[in-house]
């Protein structure tokens, strides 16, 4: 199978370039397995990866133009030559490794932790199954960055728009029956950019390897804001 892979080492290369590799595919091979074979051919080829089963969120890459998690992307789904690049719109540190600090900073901006104002009970805080169900589709995010780095609003206004991942997280806490800071959370999202820069292009939904729907979450937050405003 033929691969064309993005290479850039700031210590050696003036400019990034694409390098061709060829590997022998095995049955059931995922993109990550192929990248590991390429790495055995050239140990200087660099990418992040860890769990190999789509839960740690380390190995998001851009393949044939779409953001995917390499470890759960079967080669059989990809057309040759398979073009592998780093996430778009992020500074490249080396090869497929990008600087995700902006992405993490946006996550932190939504206060992504449970806020409880009443004293804690001795036992668990009770939550009915139907209340807990509202967290499904929100809490499973693995912070791989596939969504935010595929979002045009995020590319153009990364300093002002929070991006789909952070907004999905904001929605996760707004949806939690145990959380007692909805008002403050909504206040923090006010203004033309943080939330409202989402133009429902829906690249995030396409990109999410966990089949989550950040656009829907963003719409949900907008709806709560609207209801509160009336």
């Amino acid at each position: 199978m033929k691969f064309s892979v993005y290479r850039y080492n700031p210590e050696l290369d003036n400019d990034p370039y694409m390098q061709d590799f060829e590997i022998e595919p095995r049955q059931g091979m995922m993109l990550r397995d192929a990248l590991l074979v390429i790495r055995e051919q050239d140990e200087s080829f660099t990418f992040r990866h860890s769990c190999g089963e789509g839960v740690c969120g380390s190995d998001g890459v851009n393949v044939n133009g779409s953001n995917k998690l390499a470890c759960i992307t079967p080669l059989t789904e990809l057309k040759e030559p398979i073009v592998v690049r780093p996430f778009p719109g992020r500074p490249v540190i080396r090869d497929l490794v990008v600087d995700m600090s902006r992405f993490y900073a946006q996550y932190k901006q939504v206060d992504p932790w449970l806020i409880r104002k009443e004293p804690m009970p001795e036992r668990e805080i009770l939550q009915l199954p139907e209340e807990r169900d509202r967290l499904d589709g929100l809490y499973e995010c693995i912070m791989c960055g596939c969504c935010s780095t595929s979002c045009p609003s995020f590319w153009w206004n990364p300093d002002k728009f929070l991006g789909p991942q952070a907004l999905l997280s904001a929605c996760r806490f707004l949806a939690d029956s145990r959380d007692q800071a909805a008002e403050e959370r909504l206040d923090k999202l006010e203004g033309p950019y943080k939330l409202f820069r989402c133009h429902t292009i829906m690249n995030c939904v396409e990109a999410c390897p966990k089949e989550l729907n950040p656009t829907k979450a963003i719409g949900h937050i907008k709806a709560i804001m609207l209801k509160d405003a009336i």
Binding site: G52, G54, S58
Partner: protein, 586 residues
């Protein structure tokens, strides 16, 4: 250029459940705490834990910590320390409530309480009916817990060093740990972190085996650092092979599948666990189920064209149960085995999963450097989680007790560190010679020229461990394994990096990890060779019986001269009667 230095009250190596739960206690107490992790914290392998965390909350059926304690002692094949086990089972309850208060999205029962499911090796009333003790967030419990702990640490303003690789501990002449030398992976710059207390929370070492449920990062770094600092590792021969990894691949299929009613079948469709564990059947302890699967396959009852695995049948459960309770498993089975468990069984085989052994600690998380059981510990050095051995799992860990171990002992280490720092407020003088020595570890990899590649030697090593230290172990096979791993250790000198750049050099970090894995692998192989009995996960056809008279003791391994020593099991619990050894049947 001068080496950059930073000072903290506490240095935590590792950002999984143990490290983050300790960090949270410390940051909440306003201590200056640094967490060093070679990956962004939510990438730590705790994220992959599926089934849940044990605590006798009694939300579904009657339960109490004393029954949980009995099951854990029995599950350990009577090698676990009963004071530590009592402590863990009691603390399980407040620990889980604290996690829930911190925001963990546990699944819920109709009355709003935390959902609990059945898991292997659990009983009511000291060996009676199946208990229901495992608190779960669907089949993504580790993910739910790790993300929550990270979130709370952001709130508490814990200082994170993300993508820094820990090279070595720095000790003074009295053996007191002063901090660690770490490497900024992105820039290649070393950094010295000085600390009054240090917590090793670096996780497991499953990568020493070729087929494993463990992540690429689980290379036993903290255990190897402890060995190089002259400390022993305890009970390393006890390595858990999880019964249900996806056949040929190793990814985990949680025991929760069997807890929800799934069961194993062989090529004839027989539910073979009825033969090996007539009462508990598919929910027998993991060591028992793994041996049964390997035995079925060896006897020619395996499934598939090579008859090399068995099947995990789930398709008699309703699609609703699978969607609600096991959504992640359905996804994994589809992606990696190409089957939808709603319709077809999942091909499975045991996969290297968890090391029961580790850095010996007391129940306060303090590292114990000798075989004397006199309370002696290294001041200021702590270990918690899979890299540590408290010892609560003994010869075999129960499902759901791993998340429990890391969370209880991480939390507790945090509390003990707070007390220690109150009484020991000053940094000790730095030992420059030890810093030089640690820098030498980096210097070695600057040597250029022709040689073996890291991946060549790593592949040879992992295959050797799999062939010689697997589910069943006989003398000659293991002796040959020890010899081979020693030769591999020699060959490390011939390995050369092809990449010498500073920026995000994974060739270099993988070389450092390979050194760590080989040291840890040898501790497993040597400890296993010398234990001449079968106990828990250590199964020797040449010594098929447990031998309490000679072997009810912990192994200690030091890497200098591959030295071994032993120390007694702590059989006296804190407040209850001890559980004397019994024959272990399920």
């Amino acid at each position: 250029m001068a080496l950059e230095k930073q000072r903290f009250d506490t240095l935590i190596l590792g950002a999984g459940g143990a490290g983050l739960n300790a960090a949270l206690q410390l940051a909440n107490a306003d201590l200056k705490v640094a967490v060093v992790s070679k990956v962004f914290p939510t990438r730590s392998h705790t994220v992959a834990a599926q089934g849940g965390v044990n605590a006798a909350l009694a939300n579904v059926l009657p339960d109490n910590w004393h029954w949980h304690m009995f099951d854990t002692v029995k599950g350990s094949d009577y090698l676990g320390d009963q004071d530590a086990i009592e402590y863990m089972c009691r603390e399980a309850i407040p620990t889980v409530y604290e996690l829930e208060h911190n925001g963990v999205p546990f699944s819920r029962l109709s009355n709003g309480k935390i959902y609990q499911r059945a898991f292997g090796g659990q009983s009511q009333n000291f060996g009676g009916e199946q208990a229901v003790r495992t608190c779960a967030a669907a089949d993504r419990t580790g993910h739910a817990i790790l993300h929550t702990l990270y979130q709370q640490n952001i709130r508490a303003k814990t200082h994170f060093y993300d993508e820094y690789f820990a090279v070595d501990l720095i000790k003074d002449d009295e053996g007191v740990v002063l901090g660690a030398l770490v490497l900024n992976i992105a820039t290649g710059e070393p950094l010295l972190i000085e600390s009054k207390t240090t917590l090793l929370a670096t996780g497991g070492c499953g990568q020493v085996f070729r087929t494993t449920s463990n992540a690429h990062i689980n290379t036993g770094d903290g255990m190897a650092m402890a060995l190089r600092a002259g400390l022993p590792l305890m009970d390393m021969e006890f390595f858990q092979f999880h019964p249900t990894g996806i056949a040929g691949k190793g990814m985990l299929i949680t025991e929760g599948v069997r807890g929800e009613g799934g069961y194993l079948i062989n090529q004839d469709g027989d539910r073979f666990m009825e033969k090996y564990a007539p009462n508990a059947k598919d929910l027998a302890s993991r060591d028992v189920v793994s041996r049964s699967i390997v035995t079925e396959v060896r006897d020619g009852h395996g499934c598939g064209p090579e008859a090399d695995h068995v099947m995990l049948k789930v398709n008699h459960l309703s699609e609703d149960v699978i969607a609600k309770r096991l959504p992640g498993i359905r996804e994994s089975a589809r992606i990696f085995a190409g089957v939808d468990p709603v319709k077809e069984p999942i091909p499975v085989f045991p996969t290297a999963h968890y090391v029961m052994g580790g850095i010996p600690t007391d129940r306060f998380g303090r590292v114990m450097p000798t075989s004397e059981d006199n309370g002696a510990h290294l001041p200021g050095l702590y270990a918690a989680g899979e890299c540590a051995c408290a010892s609560v799992h003994g010869a075999n860990r129960l499902g759901g007790n791993s998340l429990l171990d890391i969370l209880v002992f991480g939390r507790l280490a945090g509390h003990n560190i707070i007390d220690y720092v109150k009484d020991n407020g000053a940094h000790r003088p730095l030992n420059e010679a030890a810093v030089e020595q640690a820098m030498g570890r980096l210097q070695r990899w600057r040597t250029k020229g022709e040689g073996l590649t890291v991946s060549q030697l790593r592949n040879e090593f992992r295959k050797t461990m799999e062939d010689h230290a697997g589910v069943f172990r006989v003398e000659e096979m293991m002796a040959e394994g020890v010899e081979k791993v020693r030769q591999i250790r020699e060959k490390l000198g011939d390995v050369r990096l092809t990449d010498h750049s500073s920026t995000f050099n994974t060739n270099r970090t993988e070389a450092l990890e390979l050194e760590n894995m080989i040291d840890v692998g040898l501790s497993i192989a040597v400890s296993a060779l010398h234990r001449k009995e079968s106990r828990g996960a250590h199964s020797r056809p040449d010594y098929p019986k447990r031998n309490d008279a000679e072997w009810m003791k912990h192994t200690l391994y030091w890497n200098e001269g591959d030295k071994l020593d032993y120390k007694g099991v702590r059989v006296q619990p804190l407040t209850v009667e001890r559980f004397p050894p019994q024959e272990r049947v399920y």
